[in-house]
């Protein structure tokens, strides 16, 4: 009963604030957590907007899109933040998003032309290892080595799907052979990123699929410089995280203002050390200390968003075949 009383009180309190416009942003779990960028972003945006910013954390990027499809046009969300380049095509297909004018000087390794979604941060996928390990320089060397790796399942995890795209972008039709060579290196496949990274930290594998920015967390937050990301000669696949405004939003101006805020100096300085990704627009003061130590790939790989769905089907079938032997 206590909970009912509590709920009633909360409802009453919400009603009293009804005159302040409310902006609802759907994003992934780790964004809204107290150690994520959520609290700082909320504070900074509310200082400028005279509104109430409500951020709702919903699993990961894929869960976010599934939720949106479930809610359809009835969604309360004004902005969706946290889809990545692999999901953009599917997101556009829903017809739930509208174009958003955004002005920013992106410092992405590629030119950004999409007018529906605006990128706010990005990273390179990479295999993270302990510094005392001599890491292979490419996928072929990895396949020939005895090194053990943990990866995520592309059927349940966005980084897992990213690796699939990475191998496909680097090797095209040769991808099945690469996977077959790597099959004996894969210790196991996990449901999501956390499980895989946890296994790696427990010493179950020599390398784990993560991001080039992962060592920055250990260095800056834990003052531990023992982790590094292996640089692969083929280039590294990018994950670009984007935000978009829903066509059904009842606060379109506010929603637009929020997306523009996300690429502004204020938000971009918050992201690197809270979301552990590169900012989409490098702040005037540069990247935080420690980021200069990170592995910077010579080549950035990315499959155009509209080609992803078809390639994904093919790559998934190849992956399943190679690893099920």
């Amino acid at each position: 009963m206590k909970y009912l009383t509590f709920a009633t009180a909360t409802l009453a309190a919400t009603a009293a604030w009804a005159e302040t416009p409310e902006l609802t942003v759907y994003t992934y779990d780790s964004f809204v957590s107290e150690w994520g960028p959520g609290p700082a972003i909320e504070k900074a945006f509310e200082e400028t907007c005279a509104c109430d910013l409500k951020m709702v954390g919903l699993g990961d990027g894929a869960a976010l899109l599934a939720r949106l499809k479930l809610e359809g046009a009835r969604s309360d969300a004004d902005v969706v933040m946290g889809l990545d380049t692999s999901l953009i095509a599917a997101a556009k297909e829903t017809g739930l998003f509208r174009e958003t004018p955004v002005s920013a000087d992106y410092t992405l390794p590629i030119a950004w032309t999409d007018t529906v979604f605006a990128p706010y941060d990005w990273g390179y996928f990479a295999f993270v290892h302990n510094k005392d390990l001599t890491a292979p320089a490419n996928f072929k060397a990895l396949g020939e080595s005895d090194l053990k790796i943990v990866i995520q399942d592309p059927r349940s995890s966005t980084p897992g799907l990213g690796l699939l795209m990475w191998v496909k972008a680097a090797y095209g039709d040769e991808a099945p052979a690469i996977w077959e060579a790597m099959a004996d290196n894969v210790v196991t496949v996990t449901k999501g990123w956390s499980e895989a990274y946890g296994l790696f930290l427990e010493g179950e594998a020599d390398m784990v699929l993560s991001y080039t920015t992962s060592p920055a967390y250990h260095l800056i937050a834990e003052e531990d410089d023992s982790k590094a990301a292996a640089a692969f000669e083929e280039g590294h696949y990018m994950q670009i995280e984007v935000a978009g405004v829903l066509a059904g939003s009842d606060q379109p101006e506010l929603a637009e203002a929020f997306v523009n805020f996300m690429v502004s100096e204020a938000a971009q300085t918050i992201l690197p050390t809270t979301n552990w990704m590169y900012p989409a627009v490098t702040p005037a003061a540069g990247l935080p200390d420690g980021f200069e130590t990170l592995t910077v790939p010579e080549k950035a790989l990315l499959i155009p968003a509209e080609e992803v769905p078809a390639i994904r089907e093919e790559a998934l079938a190849e992956w399943l075949k190679a690893l099920s032997k």
Binding site: K2, Y3, A7, D29, S30, V32, S33, E34, W35, G36, K54, M55, V56, G57, L58, G59, A62, A63, L65, A66, K69, L70, E71, R74, D76, K148, D153, R155, S156, L161, V186, V187, T188, V189, T190, K191, G192, W193, S194, E195, Y197, G198, L199, L201, E202, G203, E204, A205, S214, Y217, H218, A221, W276, W319, L320, L323, S324
Partner: protein, 518 residues
């Protein structure tokens, strides 16, 4: 037996069962209503179904077969710390999956204790990843549960029978045939069905320890269909397959339970006179030590990791713990409201087929139930407002089959023994429950309540879908910590979770056995 002499109202039991069925079918119906015609099951799906069934069968058989000597040894011996050990037996089962997996890997993993020891002795290392790893993990989870269920069976054997055996100087083997085997035939099929269904819905454990996509289960395919492909038709079809598998297994198993036909006892607690020989003692001792090592060493790994992480935990962990406790307590209450009348209805019938309804609740994918109810609620209200209600409902439903399995056998015995007397005294309704049934089921109610509380404390299933931004449960909070690189803090939170789950389990279990013997 078709018409029981006792007057337990069937109406409440039938309504409780109907509620459970409606809850599952409404969700399934909602998912189907939003589905577009899609492809049927492909070759990969059939491979997943095959793998799922085979691993679940192996895991269930092994868990229950191994549980027989463990429970027998525990039933025969009294030693210091036995009560604590019986409580700890609940621990692996209630841990969040990823925590238990990390604990297992701390012992059996590539850099686990076993391989460290083998390496130090110059022996080749062993890999846990593969089919055997999946079965090992499932046995780790379910052996304790099966042991507790069987132990309950031993406890329910009237003490007078043991006295009679002692008087007749029956050998342990003869006693097994005369007293223990009939009891096992009552208890084992249900336990098998229960463990089978638990393993049927395994996903993260099977995938992680199976070592790759060979170990794809139906639940993974359901997750993929809901989350990645948003193919609701496929999701519904796969959910249906899962329900059908669980339902048919449950029906087969419950058919195997013979009708009880022996006299009762006087509810007295008596010492055991049998199995006093040195060899018997030593064998029992070995079995108990082996089980303790297998179950508690991985737990020790979890505790050790957690202790290091405790100082790293942010304050919000305690807030999440508070939410989890509220959810657990509400789930216990709801579970009892559903389980007791249902158990009453089941024992009034000659065959226990109805218990299969309880198992359906467990075999339904939480993602399917969550999505279905989301579709149902969303047009009329904000699903967030129902986060707590749906979580409690799903948790209670998940615990229902455990509760039924725990409650039905002793209740059947109580009805057999006291049914005619109660009927001739005109006892019925609430008075029948209060005077005859509840006092006799006290220990089982405590055990069931404890299990429900602990299960719902550790559950991550449906809450993730409905997660209210301001009311996060402890397992979800732990996953979020892990998702943000904070593995140490997450290990601390896992230890807190383990402590709370065991605490609530111990409180209820102890409450039920107060002034009685386990």
């Amino acid at each position: 037996m078709a018409q029981s002499a006792i007057k337990i109202s069937r109406k409440t039991g039938i309504s409780a069962a109907a509620c459970v069925l409606a809850l599952i079918l409404a969700a399934l119906g909602a998912v189907i209503s939003r589905a577009e015609a899609g492809a049927g099951l492909g070759a990969a799906d059939w491979a997943a179904i095959r793998f799922t069934v085979v691993q679940a069968l192996c895991s269930a058989l092994l868990s229950v077969v191994l549980a027989v000597p463990v429970a027998r040894a525990l039933a025969r011996r009294r030693f210091a710390g036995r009560a604590a050990l019986v409580t700890l037996l609940g621990a692996p089962f209630i841990l969040p999956v990823i925590v238990a997996v990390l604990g297992l890997l701390g012992v059996f993993g590539r850099s686990g204790w076993v391989n460290d020891a083998l390496g130090a002795l110059g022996l080749p290392t062993v890999s846990i990843y593969g089919f055997h790893g999946v079965v090992l993990a499932h046995v780790f989870f379910n052996l304790p549960l099966a042991t507790r269920l069987l132990l309950q069976g031993w406890r329910d054997i009237p003490a007078e029978r043991f006295r009679l055996c002692a008087q007749l100087h029956l050998t342990p083997r003869a006693m097994f045939r005369a007293v223990e085997w009939p009891m096992l035939r009552q208890v084992v099929p249900g336990a098998l069905a229960l463990v089978f269904v638990i393993c049927l819905t395994s996903f993260a454990v099977a995938l992680t320890l199976g070592g790759g996509p060979r170990a794809t289960t139906i639940e993974l395919a359901i997750y993929q269909a809901f989350r990645f492909d948003f193919d609701l038709g496929r999701a519904a079809l796969l959910s249906l397959v899962q329900l059908a598998l669980a339902g048919s297994m449950a029906l087969v198993a419950l058919r195997l339970v013979p009708v009880l036909a022996v006299g009762g006892g006087l509810d007295r607690v008596m010492p055991r006179w049998d199995a006093r020989g040195g060899v018997q003692r030593m064998l029992d001792g070995c079995v108990i030590v082996a089980a303790v090592l297998f179950l508690l060493v991985p737990l020790a790994a979890v505790v050790l990791r957690g202790l290091m992480g405790l100082p790293e935990m942010p304050g919000s962990v305690f807030q999440a713990a508070g939410t989890s406790i509220v959810v657990a307590v509400l789930s216990i209450v709801l579970m009892l409201v559903l389980a007791l009348p249902m158990a009453g209805w089941i024992v009034g019938r000659a065959r226990g087929g109805v218990e299969a309804i309880g198992l359906l609740g467990l075999s339904a994918s939480p993602l399917m139930i969550g999505t279905g109810w989301f579709i149902l609620i969303n047009p009329y209200a904000d699903p967030f407002d129902f986060a707590l209600a749906v979580t409690v409902l799903v948790n209670a439903m998940m615990a229902l089959p455990f509760a039924l399995r725990i409650l039905v056998p002793p209740m059947r015995e109580a009805v057999q023994t006291y049914g005619r007397l109660s009927a001739s005294l005109g006892l019925g309704g609430w008075r029948l429950w209060r005077v005859v049934l509840l006092p006799r089921l006290r220990a089982q109610i405590g055990f069931a309540a404890g299990l429900t509380g602990a299960l719902s404390m550790g559950d991550l299933g449906v809450i993730a879908l409905f997660a209210d931004p301001d009311r996060v449960t402890l397992p979800l909070h732990m996953m979020r910590l892990m998702g943000a690189y904070r593995m140490d803090a997450a290990a601390g939170a896992a230890l807190l979770l383990l402590g709370l789950s065991l605490g609530i389990f111990w409180l209820c279990d102890k409450g039920g056995r107060w002034r009685a013997e386990a």
